[in-house]
């Protein structure tokens, strides 16, 4: 029982860390430019595909990682300058449609380039082992722990960037009141391009690190995009702190809910009924959580916008 609890909790944190990488960049862009970007999930997918390709070419995942992240970052910058930038002054509907079109395009592009079947990326050799804790009572794959470690390191870096640097100060100010920052002479468009590129790189990083544990396939970014939205809504648009708290919360609640809720229900109600409704309720858990948070705090847990 303890083993199950701990490993499920770790799985939840690992999902949460990936969600944080996705949400961090997106929430900043939403916060500063008030622009909807559905194509953020496509960057995650592209990151995963590039990781698969470059691992195959170089033979080393660790070599492929920085290359794929950098390439995704550049792609993000190109996307921002070529398409999204033209839409900042237009309404949200246009942004939804444009980025919806981009998703269809990217989902098909990867199918054209890499074929319709899923790709699989081997776990890097150094991390391809199980670690034992508490005298072998808890066994957990090293690679998943590495994901958690990298995610937490990135989180620490982002907190430093946002809280301690001049760029971070501008980002925070931009999220709180964009017009005021622009009036003070800051090139808010360039600042946003920078943040967008950073966000694209982080989404790419999430995709790269997810590649060895998931099937790399077309449309893989769509599901995580929606979870990312839930995270941002709960955490509050524009808040890195909110993104971290909400991401881990969503990751743990979703993972634990799926494994534990059916078990708990079986104790409480009839076995047949439990196995029928358990998975159903578990799959809705995070959305119910979102609804509750919204009812109590419509601006999310850590709202960044003050004005």
């Amino acid at each position: 029982m303890l083993e199950l609890l701990v490993s499920q909790a770790l799985n939840g944190i690992q999902l949460g860390v990936l969600l944080f990488l996705m949400a961090a960049g997106l929430t900043l862009v939403l916060g500063i430019m008030n622009v909807v970007n559905l194509a953020h999930g496509s960057l995650y997918m592209v990151g995963a595909y590039l990781a698969a390709q470059m691992t195959a070419v170089t033979g080393s995942f660790l070599l492929a990682l920085p290359m794929a992240v950098l390439a995704t970052l550049v792609l993000g910058l190109v996307l921002e300058v070529a398409t999204l930038r033209t839409l900042y002054q237009r309404d949200h509907l246009d942004q939804v449609l444009l980025t919806f079109g981009l998703i269809l395009f990217f989902n098909e592009v990867v199918r054209v380039i890499w074929g319709p079947t899923a790709l699989f990326v081997p776990v890097p050799e150094a991390l391809d082992q199980e670690l034992e804790f508490l005298d072998g009572e808890i066994i957990y794959p090293a690679y998943r722990l590495a994901i958690i470690a990298v995610g937490l390191a990135v989180a620490a870096f982002l907190f430093w960037l946002i809280a301690r640097t001049r760029v971070g100060m501008l980002i925070r100010a931009g999220a709180a009141n964009r017009d005021m920052v622009a009036a003070l002479g800051v090139d808010i468009v360039r600042l946003n391009t920078l943040v967008f590129g950073l966000g694209a790189g982080l989404a790419g990083l999430a995709g790269v690190m997810a590649a060895p544990i998931l099937a790399v396939e077309s449309g893989m970014g769509d599901g995580i995009l929606i979870l990312t939205f839930v995270v941002i809504v709960i955490g509050g648009i524009g808040s890195i702190r909110g993104a971290l708290v909400a991401a881990v919360l969503i990751g743990v609640v979703d993972t634990m809910g799926r494994s534990l809720l059916p078990m708990i229900l079986r104790e409480l109600v009839d076995r047949q009924l439990a196995s029928a409704i358990g998975p159903a309720v578990a799959s809705m858990l995070i959305y119910i959580l979102m609804a509750v948070v919204l009812t109590l705090r419509p601006q999310g847990l850590f709202p960044a916008r003050t004005g």
């Binding site: 449609l97 981009l102 395009f105 989902n107 769509d222 939205f229 159903a280 809705m284």
Partner: protein, 315 residues
Amino acid sequence: MRATVLAALAIAAVVPLVTAGLGGGEFYLGFATRIVIFAIAATSLNLILGYGGLVSLGHAAFFGLAAYGVGILAAHGVDTAAIQWPVALAACAVFAAVTGLVVLRTSGIYFIMITLAFAQMLYFLFVSLRQYGGDDGLTIATRSRLGPIDLGEPVVLYYLSVLCLVGSLWFCHRLVASRFGMVIRGARTNTRRMAALGFPVFRYQLVAFVLAGVMCGVAGILQANLTQFVSPSYMAWARSGELIVMVVLGGMGTLFGPVLGAAALLILEEVLADWTVHWMLYLGPIIVLIVLFAKRGLIGLFDRRSPPPAGGHHG
């Protein structure tokens, strides 16, 4: 206006005769029925998106929910429309009311993301219901029994769908022109001003949200009877995106725009798919170009006098 409506009705009426003349008439008639069904769904979305300015990215949820209502009841042996359809529509009304209570408190980006999230919740709910097919979907053994009317006859289902579309358009037309419609349209331009005038905007929007959900449910019921199949993909987020594209492509906030948009998008998809496997490679950029350059939609090509879509979406 009157002449256009009569012409459109005449075209709709002769479609079965034309498709019967073509080889593979069954296919074309089924395709025409699909266009009509999606025209109903797009019209329902237009009610809140076009007139109300509420960018719902989860509208397909109602489509799938109603289709599942038909499918699940049929799986339990209840196949009379007198029970199936009210239950399916009531499910849509309840889902719309409950989610509407949450989403309508928000606006702008929040509204978009949360409607998407709730639709996805329903999607995953039906994926997890393995007793009803889960991911693979549910085959509906018998179509709804509607008295002496045999829905298994493709022509009958087609005309019933057309009838529903005409009803939806008429309802939409009357609603938009009514006082209720004025409030909804006013709230699109300026929610705060409408509230200052003393209208409980939230309640009006909630009613509109429920009406749109139920109307979309009608389309879902027809679709379940057309394909005799329902799966979670009916309410996938891409479906919701397509519905938005239909509304905008045709001309949002116009009565017949969504009908044109539904026909245009489905025909475009069919033509592209016929031509290449990678049709989405072309559809995506086409959507992007429409957004950038043709915001008034197809209806703008036909009627140059109609006013451009009013700006000032809040958020």
